[in-house]
């Protein structure tokens, strides 16, 4: 007797397998939805964490690259005795002689407070400072004028002020008009313009800027620079950094502080990603719990569907047919959860990023990994129940109810 040919086992068609894998989900919708929810929460947490941090760091990187990483800031430090040191008046000119330096601008600290008008009590200083500023400052620190005009060669000699972004807000000035004045140390200063925020030089934001000659003439400024902003060629930032202290104050190089503001932003971006690990860990725990939920549901499903399994065996299903049906169902269940989780994670990322005006970045590893992890989880969680279903004796499944 020959058995080949007449008794060939047929594989399930992909369309039939797809239909079979949905049987349990269609007949027990609520339960399927709840167990998929576990996976969805885990995947959503991971996608959102990766998406949010990617969006935030993309935003920071955009800012950093727009502002440039070649800005160096020279400030006077402290003397050995603890007093405030002074940068020599020649510091700017000396720094400008370094070949790799492209721009040098400076500000000087003017003593005194500034008020909206002469009637404001002198105690309401608003924590504002008056700074003398050189004329090319804006381009060097990477900010721009929001309203009105910046200082020029003419207005630098006159009692004219330009307000930093925060300074304008605290003084209650949101637009610039002709003849507008503020009160500084018994002198009226005419407001010429308002600046945008200076991310790399936040000191400027709370400053009222006047020209060096005007500061010396009207505000009894001593002419010593307080901060010098240096732009170096990108390839020589470190070399310039090393030269700056000795160049700015050859007599006492140790009394000079040199810093690179963009380094702080990069550190900020790094600090955010360490925070991510915590949330990724939480997402992984949620995924694990979701996986246990899927495994649990599948085991219950196999027990409940004994008669279906027995019937299918009687209709000619092999153990392999039963195994692949339940495995496909578990994977489908997890995949639905994973897809929902990716959707929810992406949506929350998009909402959050758009409220913060950040670019929406959902890395491939987040959504691809989310879907991939869901498939793996479904396969792992469904394997044991599927094997159990396939091992079930058809006679017991059908007749022992």
């Amino acid at each position: 007797m020959t058995t080949s040919g007449t008794l060939a086992v047929r594989k399930l068609r992909p369309s039939d397998l797809a239909r079979l894998s949905t049987v349990g989900l269609r007949t027990r919708k609520l339960r399927a939805a709840l167990s998929a929810l576990g996976i969805a929460i885990g995947v959503a947490a991971i996608v959102a964490v990766l998406g949010l941090s990617s969006s935030a760091s993309a935003n920071l990187n955009n800012e950093i690259s727009a502002l440039g990483t070649n800005l160096l800031v020279v400030q006077n430090g402290q003397t050995i005795t603890g007093g405030s040191a002074e940068l020599p008046k020649t510091a700017r000119a000396m720094i400008a002689r370094i070949v790799a330096v492209t721009h040098v601008e400076q500000t000087g600290s003017v003593s005194g407070d500034v008020y909206r008008n002469s009637l404001i009590p002198s105690i309401d200083t608003n924590d504002l400072s008056i700074d003398a500023a050189s004329l090319g400052l804006l381009r060097t620190v990477g900010t721009s004028i929001a309203q009105g005009r910046y200082l020029n060669a003419a207005t630098a000699n006159e009692p004219v002020a330009v307000l930093g972004a925060a300074a304008a807000q605290r003084l209650g000035i949101d637009r610039v008009y002709s003849g507008e004045r503020i009160w500084a140390d018994n002198t009226w200063l005419y407001v010429a313009g308002i600046l945008n925020p200076a991310v790399l030089a936040p000191d400027i934001d709370s400053s009222v800027l006047v020209g060096f000659p005007a500061a010396e003439h009207y505000l009894s400024f001593d002419g010593h620079p307080f901060t010098i902003y240096v732009r170096a060629q990108n390839s020589h930032v470190n070399q310039v950094d090393n030269l700056l202290a000795a160049t700015a104050n050859p007599e006492n190089p140790s009394e000079v502080n040199v810093s690179q503001p963009s380094a702080a932003l990069v550190a900020q971006a790094d600090a955010q990603s360490t925070f991510d690990d915590l949330f990724l860990g939480l997402g992984a725990v949620a995924l694990l719990v979701g996986a246990i939920g899927v495994a649990n549901i599948m085991i219950i499903s196999v027990l409940e569907r004994r008669s279906e399994i027995g019937l299918r065996r009687a209709l000619g299903a092999t153990r392999g047919h039963i195994r692949v049906q339940f495995l496909a169902e578990a994977i489908l269940l997890a995949l639905i959860g994973g897809a929902a989780g990716v959707g929810a994670g992406a949506l929350s990322t998009a909402l959050y990023a758009s409220t913060k005006h950040e670019p929406v970045v959902i890395p491939v590893i987040a959504w691809g990994g989310g879907v991939g992890a869901a498939i793996v989880i479904g396969a792992v969680a469904g394997l044991w129940p599927a094997l159990r279903a396939a091992r079930m004796s058809p006679t017991q499944a059908l007749w022992s109810m």
């Binding site: 007797m1 058995t3 008794l7 086992v9 209709l315 092999t318 006679t395 059908l398």
Partner: protein
């Protein structure tokens, strides 16, 4: 027995899918000296040296009280289990020499099951329930449905292919289950207490349907504890304590139930 079928019937003696037709005299089912022992503590011997054959087109009732071994016999005839010793042949193929996968293919193509509890999928239409009888035989879905419609015609339900099983009466559900058993043009249909969950009238109608299918040439074995049902079948095999105590094919002239009548107590027999 008539070979006249008004449609390309999914079953019947004229069907080309029945390998049993290759040898006209070859029985569809051969059970030879079959013993089944369940390895429990102590071991339970469910069948002892059972032998009979079922020829193509026969309508056979296997009747006996609970514990007589008829369900075990059904498992063996349906290739859902293997005998401890002895031989089961379906369409000439020895079950002992087939792998699990080949036995599954055997069930998919050669054996139709009808159960007491119907076992219909409530989320599917009647048509798809019947079509699932061909799911594991490698038939594409459109053809499965076409053949399912033919099978529904055989059981008198061609008008309601899109109903859900929950919308049907018990008798109609069992007709759907019978259609599912027939859709693959099996060599043999095994019906386990097909009227067990039905009221008297519906049960009679199902028996009438089985007889009608028998007249169309379908080979049917009915398992039942009900001797009234058995009495309506052409051939009766009576079982007790794992043995065949009477086979009407052996001696048609003997009076029915000679052994059973000698025994005063049967848990399932009627008063």
């Amino acid at each position: 027995m008539s070979a006249e079928t008004t449609r390309p019937a999914p079953c019947g003696v004229a069907d080309e899918h029945l390998p049993a037709q290759n040898a006209a005299d070859r029985p569809v089912l051969e059970v030879g000296h079959v013993t089944k022992v369940y390895p429990s503590q102590p071991p339970v011997t469910a069948l002892r040296d059972v032998s009979f054959t079922v020829a193509t087109g026969e309508l056979v009732a296997i009747v006996g009280p609970s514990g007589s071994g008829k369900t075990t016999l059904l498992h063996l005839m349906g290739t859902l289990d293997r005998p401890s010793s002895g031989r089961v042949r379906i369409t000439g193929l020895d079950v002992a020499r087939l792998s699990d996968r080949e036995l599954a293919a055997m069930r998919a193509t050669q054996i139709g099951f009808v159960f007491q509890q119907f076992f219909l999928a409530e989320h599917q239409t009647v048509l798809d329930n019947v079509a699932d009888g061909l799911l594991y035989a490698g038939v594409p879905q459109t053809e499965r449905r076409a053949r399912a419609l033919d099978a529904l015609g055989l059981v008198g339900l061609a008008a309601r292919p899109h109903a859900r099983p929950t919308q049907l009466s018990g008798g109609q559900r069992q007709r759907v289950a019978i259609a599912r058993a027939l859709v693959g043009s099996p060599a043999i249909v095994l019906a386990d207490e097909p009227t067990g969950n039905l009221d008297q009238a519906a049960g009679q109608a199902i028996l009438g349907l089985l007889k009608e299918l028998h007249h169309r040439g379908v080979t049917i074995v009915v398992i039942s504890h009900d001797r009234d049902i058995a009495a309506r079948m052409d051939r009766r095999i009576e079982m007790l304590d794992g043995r065949i105590v009477y086979d009407s094919a052996d001696d048609a002239s003997r009076s029915p139930l000679p052994v059973l009548e000698d025994r005063p107590s049967h848990e399932d027999s009627r008063p």
